[in-house]
Symmetry: C2
Subunit: 337 residues, 2 copies
Amino acid sequence: MKLATLKQGGRDGTLVVVSRDLTRCRAVPAIARTLQAALDDWAGTEPQLRQTYEALNSGAIEGEPFDQAACHSPLPRAFQWADGSAYINHVELVRKARNAEVPQSFYSDPLMYQGGSDGFVGPRDTVVAKPEWGIDFEAEVTVVTGDVAQGATPEEAASAIRLIMLVNDVSLRNLIPNELAKGFGFFQSKPASAFSPVAVTPDELGDAWKDAKVHLPLMVHLNGKLFGKPNAGMDMTFSFGQLVAHVAKTRTLCAGSIIGSGTVSNKQDSLWGSTVDNGGVGYCCLAEVRTYETIEQGKPATPFMDHGDVVRIEMFDAGGQSIFGTIENTVDTASAR
Amino acid sequence: MKLATLKQGGRDGTLVVVSRDLTRCRAVPAIARTLQAALDDWAGTEPQLRQTYEALNSGAIEGEPFDQAACHSPLPRAFQWADGSAYINHVELVRKARNAEVPQSFYSDPLMYQGGSDGFVGPRDTVVAKPEWGIDFEAEVTVVTGDVAQGATPEEAASAIRLIMLVNDVSLRNLIPNELAKGFGFFQSKPASAFSPVAVTPDELGDAWKDAKVHLPLMVHLNGKLFGKPNAGMDMTFSFGQLVAHVAKTRTLCAGSIIGSGTVSNKQDSLWGSTVDNGGVGYCCLAEVRTYETIEQGKPATPFMDHGDVVRIEMFDAGGQSIFGTIENTVDTASAR
């Protein structure tokens, strides 16, 4: 099943069921007005939403044309957004550039940060930031959970996964060093994220959803040029079940919580991988290619994003169909205050 | 104006207007069913809520008896909960115990962490945790904002403050060192917080609300014995205007965002203050008294909380009236999984 949220209808938008091919949609006010409302009562709403979905796919319901540009993030605001760093290659790469070791515990204890969730950027909206902040994207896979009990096992946590989305976890690289040096983690350096227009139930991925991981390439274009295509199922040290269980160790998790994978990153038979131009699968953030350049050439060559730069993030099924629709964020430095 | 949320009525509870003396209340479904809904349209709802408040206080409306034990946190779940560390004495004290300096930047750049907000503990509910996690309370003052624009000045941010609450920012001290060593800030070590039964508008504090600080003693009892009574207006290095502006530097803030002061802590004419027994104003968390004991005696003497321990947090106006009602959390280690 595929769901999206149109911007119209207030702060939390309007929930629509979207056809599998992303061409048509149908609002479902009699079932749930918003995605959060649907998730709050998933046992009651999910069967009805699925009926609408099947009717849309079969043509029994015509629906309306689906316009990704009219969408907000599926949850325009959420109660929880926690992001992991499950692709340790990303951590290894960054540390390699500064000759630091990766602590052994990082391979058994997930690295996660608490993100802010009170407002997200729309999938096709601008990212407003100052160029001196070092504007970067991070392409990731995320899940949306139902209620999760405190102390849930990874298996219990995995069974509470309701939806899957993509995200552009916007990162302000030049604000990170000072902020992390203060010891309390990210804050200003992790502004609002942008999620894919469409959220899908795990069954929608078929065999590509296995062991609570998404086994498909994540496609990233920068200004129209392919920048990365790593497989999100490879080199993911922690499954989404493990990530959700980590979050729930000392607290319950509310339905509608979003948990992210961290920047997708493949080892590519070496520690630091390679760019698409060099025959590799490339990267899902500028920081990695800049680190690669630092290792190879002594200093970064690729600049961070500036006014007008566009990042595109999407994922296709085996038949070439876009699963989640397309995130396409343009940077706007002129409006930053 | 005083507002609270009864547990009945779903995940976000039922908004009630509470009389100034906390004896009576009135649900206001025709104005707003939940506090978040009221904050989402504050310009529209606030005048109507005030009418109900005045009518309750004057006796024109009788209302129903107000039972603090029936309350959830005013926002049972929120879209944003960010906590500062505005009382640098707390930081100085902790660092003094390990002979570390406080960086000069800490006096001009607020230290804040991104908290989790998908579910809070009720004001009279139990804190479920394992004793080996090192269960501590932190008594703080918090504000709830309206919408705040990215890049807002401290003055603009202060003018967006809608409500004030108290909080028990539960902290799991023994999980903190390993978590902070990983570099991404708190996560498992900061489980769900518990807020005061009642949220009040700033005007309710009269002269005690000045320069976006609350100039009243914060009263903390541990197992019925006075543990702390520091003045929340003293030694607060950053005002709530500055804290909110810090949060909004790189992102907009959504109505209903909760911003905390950090553990209230007074210098008491010395670097590390003193306990109530020693004639001081005491502390707002066990970590501080343990640090004081470490400085004075070489090691901590006061244990962290265990099963059945009770922390009580409240604040009184000049006339002795409880402003926010009472947070009273009992620790339950038996239910922790």
